[in-house]
């Protein structure tokens, strides 16, 4: 038998690691840490570390379940065809079991080490992403990104609740910020990779409703995001450091979304405004959450 059969070999451990979408996880870990650091009160470093680890494990587990479910779709897109499952470097059921193990243990460990309120929110986030979003709504509605954004919005809330033990206005606002941020962030990307999604039957906004509608909705969500981003300062939850940063970032985000909203792509379009908006959206979220932590530290030190 000359033909090699890659399934027979045990999968490389690096492929299991790749299954957790490490690059998406950096944002999850970062916003989780920010929620943890910005919350009033203190948490023991070991418990804080465990919280972040559990958030990361939960995110990794649901990412694995997402790829288990979407293996066929992923094999049809250039961007995802080389993931461990579509490239057949791993058995499908192994990915499923790995995802369930990671998800379940993350919830149990968080519950035992930190608290069951934070653990319940983590469990809700995992079910929301792996079941409600991936299995149910993503293949059915062009608003899928709005719904999927909800999953990415949980980490700072979990970090915050791990410290305070209660759900107040601030963790809900942190959730709302990422929730409103995701559509313009992702649709900017979808505008310059839309052909891929069209081929595999996922109803991405640019494919279903057309470019004009997508561009208009990018602007709408960017406008809606601004008051939500400024709200933590407006309700007195933060100091002016965060307030000024939120204001400046919101104006910049709005300014970059304007050219995207009111243009139409042409043949061989380089899509520069869309790529710029997408790049800035990542910077926006990092900077906004960093400002939240800086503001909190400054207040704690009595600088402001």
């Amino acid at each position: 038998m000359e033909q090699t059969t890659p399934h027979i070999l045990p999968a490389d451990w690096r492929d299991f690691f790749a299954l957790t979408k490490p690059r998406v996880m950096t944002l999850v870990i970062f916003t989780g840490i920010c929620g943890l650091l910005a919350a009033p009160g203190s948490i023991h470093p070991v418990i804080g570390f465990t919280t972040i680890l559990c958030i990361a494990m939960g995110a990794g587990g649901s990412a694995a379940l997402n790829q288990w479910w979407e293996a066929d779709i992923d094999s049809g897109m250039k961007r995802t065809a080389n993931r461990p499952l579509p490239a057949q470097r791993m058995r499908k059921n192994d990915a499923r079991d790995f995802g369930i193990l990671l998800s379940a243990s993350s919830v149990v460990i968080l519950g035992l080490a930190v608290g069951w309120l934070a653990a319940s929110i983590l469990a809700a986030a995992i079910v929301y992403y792996a079941v409600i979003y991936t299995i149910w709504l993503k293949p059915r509605t062009p608003q899928n990104i709005v719904i999927g954004g909800g999953a990415g919005a949980f980490p700072p809330m979990i970090g915050w609740v791990a410290v305070t033990g209660e759900v107040t206005a601030m963790p809900i606002l942190l959730f709302a910020i990422i929730f409103m941020w995701t559509p313009p962030h992702f649709w900017a990307l979808a505008l310059f990779v839309k052909l891929d999604y069209a081929n595999v039957g996922i109803p991405m906004m640019p494919v279903v409703k057309g470019e004009r509608s997508t561009r208009r909705q990018i602007l709408i969500y960017t406008v809606l995001l601004a008051p939500v981003a400024i709200a933590p300062w407006a309700i007195g939850g933060t100091g002016y450091i965060y307030g000024v940063a939120a204001l400046a970032l919101s104006i910049a985000f709005f300014a970059l979304s304007l050219p995207v909203a009111f243009r139409q792509s042409v043949e061989q379009d380089s899509m520069q405004p869309e790529k710029r908006l997408f790049g800035f959206s990542i910077l926006y979220l990092f900077a906004l959450f960093a400002a939240l932590v800086v503001d909190r530290v400054a207040a704690g030190q009595g600088w402001i």
Binding site: M1, T4, I8, L9, P10, A11, D12, W13, H44, V46, I47, T50, L53, L112, A113
Partner: protein, 48 residues
């Protein structure tokens, strides 16, 4: 996995062992890490 029907070439055999070994190291490391972490969590929670 049915081992009897697995006719592996020597190269595949080498790759098989290599992957098995590296996976064992990773699993061992992860288990050790969690043993230490659980110990630390226990000490911290007892002290509260």
């Amino acid at each position: 996995m049915d081992l009897r029907n697995m006719a592996m070439t020597p190269e595949e055999e080498v790759e098989f062992r290599k992957r098995q070994r590296s996976r064992n190291w990773v699993v061992g490391g992860v288990l050790l890490f969690f043993a230490v972490l659980f110990y630390a969590i226990t000490i911290v929670r007892i002290g509260e």
